[in-house]
Amino acid sequence: MLSVSLDQARYGCNLVAHGVFQEPSLYTVKALFILDNDGNRLLSKYYDPELYPSMKEQNNFEKNVFNKTHKADNEIAFLEGMTVVYKSSIDLFFYVVGSPQENELMLMSVLNCLFDSLTQILRKNVERRYLLENMEGVFLVVDEIIDGGVILESDPQQVLQKVNYKLVSEQAYGFVLFDYITGSLEGEAERGQLL
């Protein structure tokens, strides 16, 4: 009953009431997550501790958002009282969540920055396999774009420059395998230095 009334209060104020002023704040992004095409979480960040504090609630939210969005590429949706902007690429889904009062275009600029940065880091192979292979790069990119809900950077070029990340390329993969087979740890250490 209580949860119902709280929900209601939230939706009520979101959709019905107007003149509800938002406290001016830099805390723009409530959450950001990347899901695969089964709706599984690959990366997710919740910046507002009051929004879905438990893992179970987060998973529910992500499942709900995924179910409502993965069929049609509509770019924007309003779910569970939150504005969700999203984008998909092959087998990946990128989501940025903001409060219902938030400027949708700001959220879009975050999403676009995330997507463009990852596109470049992954050399245009924005798919699950490459994303997972370069997970550290993805973590770093997200870290450079948003800090605790504040947009830190929205220009993909700047993000790339700050992350300064080198792709684990196909070639390197061969080298590593070779190093592994020959057991040449030295070679590997050297490569690590180079990277």
């Binding site: 107007h18 779910l79 569970e80 949708e104 870290d143 990277l195």
Partner: protein, 1240 residues
């Protein structure tokens, strides 16, 4: 190892995930590799990634294992691998809350933060601040200050954002960095600017003056960052709201100016801010709405969504402001994004006309199942408000709602539907039966207890009064059999109401009650027994008191009283009368229920009661009966501001004086308001306010005893004087002088009236309560209503001796009541009542909708005053109709937009006009207050032949017909003027036929926005004697976009006069003037250039030898000139020029339209075409250039919609053009021409 795993997995299938089967323990085991020397960055990196991935998946790490891994990780700081180091920072941040002793990395991070590697510095700062607490913060304060002003943007940004995070934790420390933040705000980097602004605001937000100064500075300096602009807009609108700043405030100007920003984000933010301002009139909204309208056709879904969502909000308050966007919204109702489509439809439902409702409802029902519950609620709310607007549509709505009710949906959704249906039932008595039937059907299978009980309550209330109450009994009793306890109890109560109101049903109800008395639940049994006994008494008073009208006490008050009673048990039974009565009016209940937690907050009266009970002298007065609203005893701007609240007790009254001292050089002490009663009231006590410093309100009280001997002496007037001790003090420090002097200040008189002794009681069933009172209290009286305007003196006589009936029927729904804003008051004076007016029927109906609460939505009162002929003595032989359909808002007059007054005087009335029929109709829309939105006056002037002596033999018609768009009629802003002069009239033109036709322009592709008539001027041969031998063509070609055709707005007129024509013009005087439409009042929307074309004979002379001037003068607004949007294009071909033209010096310049303010709407690229003689040389034998210049907006690009094609054919050139018109000959173009075009 990992990579190998990858490979294998990949081969096995597409679902590969190197992190899928990670075991926490295995990863932690692997983490031991951190301790190996030398460090292997690659493997360590991968392990860190795994740890972070696991944390991200929600894997729980125990404190010990996390701490262990954390400490191992700290060793990795020895490696210089960049990515590894960065991942260490991430790990620190992720583990900051899980691991212990994370502060051990402080020194490493401090080193990185101040080191030379810029790549490390920013992230290091952020990681460091994540693990720093208030005490530690002091230690790094120096570094933070340096970092904030660092010239590397990433360092500065990181420091600013981290500071912002720490404001919550240690405000006092971060506050000291305000100067550094100030310096950073002037950085060139856009993100640094944004972050600095954010931090500055968070540090200063409690100091309104500082915020105001800051805004002032930044709005002037002009920031680069769009994010910072958005932030500034938010701050500005918040400040505007707090200070209740008007729309003349510079802050508002700033927000409005942002509507012309280059960046869509900023434009949207500004529009949204304007829309959300609580007191925004349609005028202020207009620019915001028009940018939102542009966004509606954006290819970006997010932008369309944002725009339509904001428009939806506007539509709630100002539906008329959004009607301008209806066409754009229509386009969106088929949008593939269902959220956008839903919002568009609901907006249209609010703004559209009654006729479009059916179509929209059909459209929305086609996909209502696809949209989320949140939006379904929006749809229901739109329907609910629609029902109030168009009550006749209730059957369509009811049908739709009942279908929705049958579909699946959550509680919120169902509740919204039920509320909506209940609302409709209350508004429209004729829909009651169908509505109740739908609801009955719904509770047959309703999983929501709250809704079932609500509907049962409604059935109990409404059912007995329907023609066939018995049919509801079955539905109700079904609930008793099938449902849970709460529903059963509600069903029993509903049954009792049927029994109490319908005598013929009573026996059956009693039988059913009997069965309910066997129920397994206590509450149900108790209710049944209670009602059974009450009903058996068959007494109306009992029924009214115990069945229809429940408790009317305030629930928090009851709770408190009961609690008090249990704490302090006494022999006496609990007295219900000691509980304060509920003061919330029914209409506010709805808003209260939507905020459940707030409803339980103590009411205003409860607060007063507590305050008063704390004062010793007032103990023992008994419970507080009533507290009045505050009465002002001084003017608002005086030295001391005093307000009084009257508290009524059983035998006493307490006057609470809230005093405020507005003099900053005085301290008042021992403030008392002395009262002199006019009646036998007795002042018992004064309780002074000890100190009253500058601007801090204080209260003093007076206790008065009501006269005991005369209980009817309820009203009294008190003369009040405030007495106090003044001590002068220093305005700056507030330190008072040692000694002061007594002074007094006379206040306005305070009145105690009957109203102070009367408490409003809620009677849900008014009819039953009325009956309960009985006949002996009924009294009939006659009132003369002075506030009714009468027409002229002769009428007033009879009205005076008449009896008026004033009925005020407030249509509001206690349940859904939200949109019920307009009490409708019907005033009827029927003929028989008005002695002298007996033979006439005179009806005054004032259906003035106004909101009793805020008056804000009171938009369209309509008052129709009809006086038929027989009534109007002096006008007896005539028919005189005065109709004033003037919409005005009685409160603020703000939304008074289009009064239309039609004044008709028929012939017999107008002596001088007797033999003629003369009709003057002025349908001039104007606002009597500001005249601002007076946009399209249409004036039709008809003078028939007999009237116009001089014109007798002729038929002369001047018609000015307002332009309309054949499609929607929406953008029809410009009157088309048709000028017809038939032969007989125009002496000089007698032998000729002259036709001026103005044809509405259209876009060949979509035709949609083709708004401007193209005027074709044809002068046939017989008219233009002199022109007979010539060909003369004036063509005005409407610009259109070949792509979308949508924004083709401004026709360009091409005037071609071939040489041979000019000859004959010599002897004639010829003037063609097309004058653009303008608004006589404000001129603001005067958008259309006026083009004056003058070719006078004497002028033409030189034209031969060629002086020819065609001037197209841009439109301008005579008042502000603000909306002057179209640049003026001057085409000059002067004689001396023309010479060379022959030998070819020819300049055609077309200067694009631009907005002088921001240039944003400057949509047309400028193309300058210059062909100087020397150039032409090579092209002489063939210069024909057709260029289609695709218009683009230099700023936003996407709105560049209009290609312009310039076609120039000068005489000498035409020869070759003919050849080039043939596609085959195009090949034969001289090479030189290509080179030339390329260089252009």
């Amino acid at each position: 190892m990992i990579k190998k795993f990858d490979k294998k997995d990949e081969e096995s299938g597409s679902g590969s995930n190197p992190f899928q089967h990670l075991e926490k323990s295995a990863v932690l085991q692997e983490a031991r590799i951190f301790n190996e020397t030398p460090i292997n960055p690659r493997r360590c990196l991968h392990i860190l990634t795994k740890i972070i991935y696991l944390l991200n998946q929600g894997e729980h790490f125990g404190t010990t294992e996390a701490t262990e891994a954390f400490f191992a990780m700290t060793r990795l700081f020895q490696s210089n691998d960049q990515t590894l180091r960065r991942m260490c920072y991430l790990t620190i941040k992720e583990m900051a809350n899980i691991s212990e002793d994370v502060i051990i990395v402080t020194s490493s991070l401090t080193k990185d933060m101040t080191g030379k590697e810029d790549v490390y510095r920013g992230p290091a700062i952020r990681a460091l601040c994540r693990i720093t607490d208030t005490t530690m913060l002091q230690a790094i304060e120096r570094y933070m200050k340096q970092a904030i002003v660092d010239k590397v943007p990433s360092v500065s940004s990181s420091a600013l954002v981290s500071s912002l995070h720490m404001v919550k934790m240690s405000y006092d420390v971060v506050k000291r960095w305000v100067n550094e933040a100030q310096e950073a705000a002037s950085s060139d980097n856009i993100m640094v600017q944004y972050h600095a602004l954010g931090l500055l605001y968070h540090l200063r937000k409690n100091d309104r003056l500082a915020v105001s100064k800051m805004l002032n500075k930044f709005t002037k300096s002009g920031l680069k960052s769009p994010f910072a602009y958005c932030m500034l807009i938010r701050i500005a609108s918040k400040l505007l709201e707090e200070t209740e700043g008007g729309h003349d405030s510079p802050l508002f100007d700033f927000i409005e100016s942002c509507l012309r920003n280059k960046n869509e984000m900023v434009v949207y933010e500004a529009a949204s801010a304007i829309v959300h301002m609580p007191t925004c009139s349609a005028r202020e909204l207009a620019p915001a709405v028009s940018v939102l309208q542009l966004f509606c056709s954006s290819p970006k879904a997010a932008l369309r969504y944002a725009a339509v969502r904001t428009l939806n909000k506007v539509a709630m308050k100002h539906p008329s402001a959004v009607t301008a966007c209806n066409l754009d919204l229509e386009n969106l109702i088929t949008d593939s994004n269902r959220s956008i489509a839903t919002l568009a439809i609901t907006t249209l439902l609010k703004t559209g006309s009654e006729s479009s409702v059916d179509r929209l409802m059909k459209q929305i029902s086609s996909f209502v199942s696809e949209i989320s519950d949140e939006f379904k609620v929006v749809v229901v709310q739109a329907i609910s408000s629609l029902c109030q607007k168009y009550p006749r549509k209730h059957s369509v709505m009811m049908n739709f709602l009942s279908n929705m009710l049958r579909d699946d949906g959550g509680f919120e959704y169902k509740r919204a539907i039920v509320d909506c249906i209940i609302g409709i039932i209350e508004e429209n008595p004729e829909s009651k039966e169908t509505g109740l039937a739908h609801l009955c059907e719904f509770i047959e299978d309703c999983e929501h207890t709250v809704l079932a009980t609500k509907i049962l309550h409604l059935l109990g209330k409404e059912g007995p009064r329907t023609p066939a109450p018995s049919k509801y009994i079955r539905f109700i009793f079904n609930r008793v059999v099938l449902e849970s306890e709460a529903v059963r109890a509600a069903a029993v109560s509903a049954l009792a109401k049927f029994g109490a109101q319908n005598d013929d049903l009573l026996p059956s109800v009693l039988v059913l009650m009997q069965r309910c008395m066997m129920d397994s639940d206590d509450e149900v049994r108790d209710r049944a027994t209670f009602y059974m006994n009450v009903l058996q008494q068959k007494q109306k008073a009992l029924n009214a008191a115990y069945i229809f009208n429940g408790l009317s006490v305030s629930v928090p008050g009851l709770e408190k009283s009961l609690h008090q009673y249990t704490l302090d048990p006494s022999e006496r039974p609990f007295d219900m009368k000691s509980v304060p009565l509920a003061t919330t009016p029914i209409s506010e209940q709805k808003s209260a229920t939507s905020k459940m937690p707030e409803k339980m907050a103590p009411s205003r009266q409860d607060i007063y009661q507590e305050q008063l009970a704390a004062i010793l002298e007032f103990q023992g007065l008994g419970p507080l009966f009533k507290s009045s609203e505050a009465v002002q005893l001084t003017e608002a701007e005086t030295e001391y501001v005093v307000r009084c609240v009257k508290h009524t007790f059983a035998q006493h009254m307490v006057f609470q004086f809230d005093c405020t001292n507005t003099l900053n050089d005085q301290l008042l002490q021992k403030v008392v308001v002395q009262m002199e009663p006019s009646e036998s009231y007795e002042v018992l006590h004064y309780i002074p306010a000890a100190n009253l410093p500058y601007s801090q309100p204080g209260s003093c009280y007076s206790l008065v005893r009501l006269p005991e001997e005369d209980p009817t002496a309820v009203s009294c007037t008190f003369s009040c004087t405030m007495r106090y001790l003044v001590r002068d003090c220093d305005p700056n420090t507030g330190d008072p002088d040692d000694d002061g002097y007594d002074d007094e200040y006379v206040l306005e008189d305070l009145e105690v009236t009957v109203a102070d002794h009367i408490q409003k009681v809620l009677k849900p069933n008014f009819g039953a309560a009325w009956e309960e009172v009985g006949d002996e209290f009924e009294k009939e009286e006659t009132f003369a209503l002075a506030s009714v305007r009468t027409l002229d003196g002769t009428f007033c006589g009879p009205v005076q001796s008449s009896l008026w009936t004033v009925r005020s029927v407030a249509p509001f729904s206690p349940h859904s009541g939200r949109y019920a804003l307009w009490p409708r008051s019907v005033l009827t004076l029927d003929g028989t009542l008005c002695g002298p007016v007996q033979s006439s029927l005179w009806t005054v109906r004032s259906v003035a909708p106004f909101s009793p609460h805020s008056g804000r939505y009171a938009l369209w009162p309509r008052s129709v005053l009809t006086l038929d002929g027989t009534l109007c003595g002096p006008v007896q032989s005539s028919l005189w109709t005065v109709r004033s359909v003037a919409p005005f808002s009685p409160h603020s007059g703000r939304y008074v937009l289009w009064p239309r007054s039609v004044l008709t005087l028929d012939g017999t009335l107008c002596g001088p006009v007797q033999s003629s029929l003369w009709t003057v109709r002025s349908v001039a829309p104007f606002s009597p207050h500001s005249g601002r939105y007076a946009l399209w006056p249409r004036s039709v002037l008809t003078l028939d032949a007999t009237l116009c002596g001089p014109v007798q033999s002729s038929l002369w018609t001047v018609r000015s017909v307002a332009p309309f768009s054949p499609h929607s009629g929406r953008y029809v802003l410009w009157p088309r003027s048709v000028l017809t002069l038939d032969g007989t009239l125009c002496g000089p033109v007698q032998s000729s036929l002259w036709t001026v036709r103005s044809v509405a322009p259209f876009s060949p592709h979509s035709g949609r926005y083709a708004l401007w008539p193209r005027s074709v001027l044809t002068l046939d041969g017989t008219l233009c004697g002199p022109v007979q031998s010539s060909l003369w063509t004036v063509r005005s070609v409407a610009p259109f976009s070949p792509h979308s055709g949508r924004y083709a707005l401004w026709p360009r007129s091409v005037l071609t006069l071939d040489g041979t024509l000019c000859g004959p013009v010599q002897s004639s005087l010829w003037t063609v003037r097309s004058v653009a439409p303008f608004s006589p009042h404000s001129g603001r929307y005067v958008l259309w250039p006026r083009s004056v074309l003058t070719l006078d004979g004497t002028l033409c002379g030189p034209v031969q030898s060629s002086l020819w001037t065609v001037r197209s003068v841009a439109p301008f607004s005579p008042h502000s000139g603000r909306c002057v949007l179209w640049p003026r294009s001057v085409l000059t071909l002067d004689g001396t020029f023309c010479g060379p033209v022959q030998s070819s010096l020819w300049t055609v310049r077309s200067v694009p339209p631009f907005s002088p303010h921001s240039g944003r709407y400057a949509l047309w690229p400028r193309s300058v075409l210059t062909l100087d003689g020397t150039l032409c040389g090579p092209v002489q034998s063939s210069l024909w250039t057709v260029r289609s210049v695709a218009p683009f907006s230099p700023h936003s690009g996407p709105y560049a919609l209009w290609p312009r094609s310039v076609l120039t054919l000068d005489g000498t050139f035409c020869g070759p053009v003919m050849l080039r018109c043939q596609p085959a000959v195009t090949i034969a173009i001289p090479k030189a021409a290509f080179i030339l075009l390329g260089s252009l």
